[in-house]
């Protein structure tokens, strides 16, 4: 193991100029930032773990939530996130290669690899935006009970999820969204869901093929499916129609799941975004020959550390949001 003790007699320890840790000032400061940022992310993920253990029996199952791949219809749990993970690891690799090229003072290679890193980061941020949009839009719709629990619908014969549109009745004489002009103190309301609670309930009663799935997780790790009789009793608890997810309501289950999803992946996405911006700055600096004149490419290495850190965080976010 390398020793860190500086014993040179000609060296003044506090006079500057020596590096006990063998790393430059800038690199050490980057590590300071990374360690503190790692602690911030750990705080978020630990808080997520807290809420999850609190509602361990009713937490949403990730591969029933994230089931979409762009441009393709059907049920593909996890494939797209796996792709995103791979893109980010790949862009991490091109970043190391850029750092390596920088060490060898190969300008053109460093430019190429920085460019590929930026492209990888952009694909990742774009994918995350798509993932958010899909999550916010929702796919099947659900009913929220008086106690704030979510009831989802399943077709009894195939076991597939049933969308509200599959069975809800269209009843005449529905109310329209209220607007600001309807009352002096009224500021308007959010968009109404596609179906009213009454339409969903009546449609459910009329269609014997639809069963209710509750949030409760069985021993096999699946959500509990009620029988038709239990479902008919349970639908009476319904209070709201929920479509999609936001910070207040969430058709996938526990609303804390959506809150943490937006907060943690959003915070990570912001890191990726800033990483891409910084990478672009470095990219142009390399093209302009700044580091060639400076005599070393340490700046690429420092930014590389940040970029790898973003990848490192994603590995944990991926595990705790999509796998576990």
């Amino acid at each position: 193991m390398d020793s860190t003790v500086t014993t040179g007699t000609d060296e003044n320890v506090w006079g500057g100029g020596n590096q006990p840790l063998g790393a430059s000032y800038g690199k050490l400061m980057m590590w300071f930032f990374i360690v503190s940022d790692a602690l911030t992310f750990s705080g978020f993920l630990a808080a997520y773990g807290f809420s999850r253990f609190k509602f361990i029996e009713t937490w949403p199952v990730a591969d029933q939530v994230f089931t979409h791949v762009p441009f393709i219809h059907g049920n593909f749990p996890m494939y797209y996130v796996a792709f995103m993970t791979f893109v980010l690891i790949m862009s991490s690799v091109t970043m190391v290669l850029a750092v390596d090229a920088g060490h060898k003072m190969m300008k053109n290679k460093a430019i190429l690899y920085m460019f590929l890193t930026i492209i990888g980061g952009a694909i990742f941020v774009g994918s995350q935006a798509w993932e958010w949009a899909t999550f916010i839009k929702g796919d099947y719709g659900a009913i929220e009970t008086k106690g704030g629990r979510i009831l989802q619908f399943v077709k009894a014969d195939t076991g597939e999820r049933a969308a509200l549109a599959d069975f809800a009745k269209t009843l005449p004489g529905e109310r329209v969204a209220q607007e600001n002009k309807d009352g002096v103190w009224f500021y308007g309301e959010g968009s109404l869901p596609s179906y009213s609670l009454n339409e969903v309930t009546e449609g459910f009663r009329a269609n014997p093929n639809i069963l209710i799935r509750t949030e409760m997780i069985t021993e096999d790790g699946e959500k509990t499916l009620l029988t038709r009789e239990e479902s008919l009793a349970k639908i009476k608890d319904g209070k709201l129609v929920v479509e999609g997810a936001n910070l207040v309501r969430n058709e996938y289950g526990s609303r804390l799941f959506a809150d943490f999803f937006f907060f943690i992946t959003g915070f990570h996405g912001f890191h990726v975004f800033s990483g891409v911006v910084i990478n672009i700055i470095i990219f142009f600096n390399i093209i302009l020959g700044t580091y060639e004149r400076r005599g070393h490419y340490e700046m690429v290495e420092k930014v590389g550390l940040y970029w790898h850190f973003v990848d490192l965080v994603w590995v944990f976010v991926f595990t705790f949001f999509y796998l576990v």
């Binding site: 193991m1 390398d2 860190t4 006990p20 840790l21 063998g22 790393a23 050490l28 590590w31 360690v35 602690l39 750990s42 705080g43 630990a46 773990g49 807290f50 809420s51 999850r52 253990f53 609190k54 509602f55 361990i56 029996e57 591969d63 749990p77 996890m78 494939y79 796996a82 993970t85 791979f86 690891i89 991490s92 690799v93 970043m95 190391v96 290669l97 390596d100 060490h103 009970t145 106690g147 704030g148 629990r149 409760m216 021993e219 096999d220 790790g221 608890d237 490419y297 340490e298 290495e301 590389g304 790898h308 850190f309 490192l312 590995v315 944990f316 595990t319 999509y322 796998l323 576990v324």
Partner: protein
């Protein structure tokens, strides 16, 4: 910055000729680990889901351990902690490990207590 790289991974089991080659080697390893994770996540083998160790499914333990393995190789080879002085490496690695383990222990213990209050206490929440 012309320090030399340590070119061995898996405790010397695998030696690479150049730094570039090592990077690609680590990428292949990380890709394999991610593929295994996703495959396990999609198939969810029954035995791994039903077995629990210290209050958590065996499958989840596998995911967490594989994640830490990936984190190790990202930090050691991509962030080249392997090439840094051991004092710097230890300062960077052990500080978060110590603080985060403490935080996780406290929070998860407390969360489990609240779960039991919801479950056994006189609180109605599922209606």
């Amino acid at each position: 910055m012309s320090h030399e790289h340590k070119l061995e991974i898996f405790r010397g089991l695998l030696k690479f000729k150049s730094n570039t080659q090592k990077i690609w080697g680590v990428l292949i390893f990380l890709t394999i680990v991610t593929t295994v994770e996703v495959a396990l996540g999609i198939t969810k083998p029954h035995i791994l889901v039903t077995t629990t160790i210290i209050g958590m499914k065996l499958l989840n333990w596998i995911f967490i351990i594989l994640t830490l393995v990936k984190a190790y190789y990202i930090a050691w080879d991509f962030m080249h902690l392997r090439d840094e002085k051991s004092s710097l490496r230890r300062a960077i690695v052990w500080t978060p490990i110590f603080l985060v383990s403490y935080l996780i222990f406290i929070l998860l213990f407390e969360a489990d207590y609240i779960y039991n209050v919801f479950k056994d206490g006189f609180v109605t929440w599922n209606f």
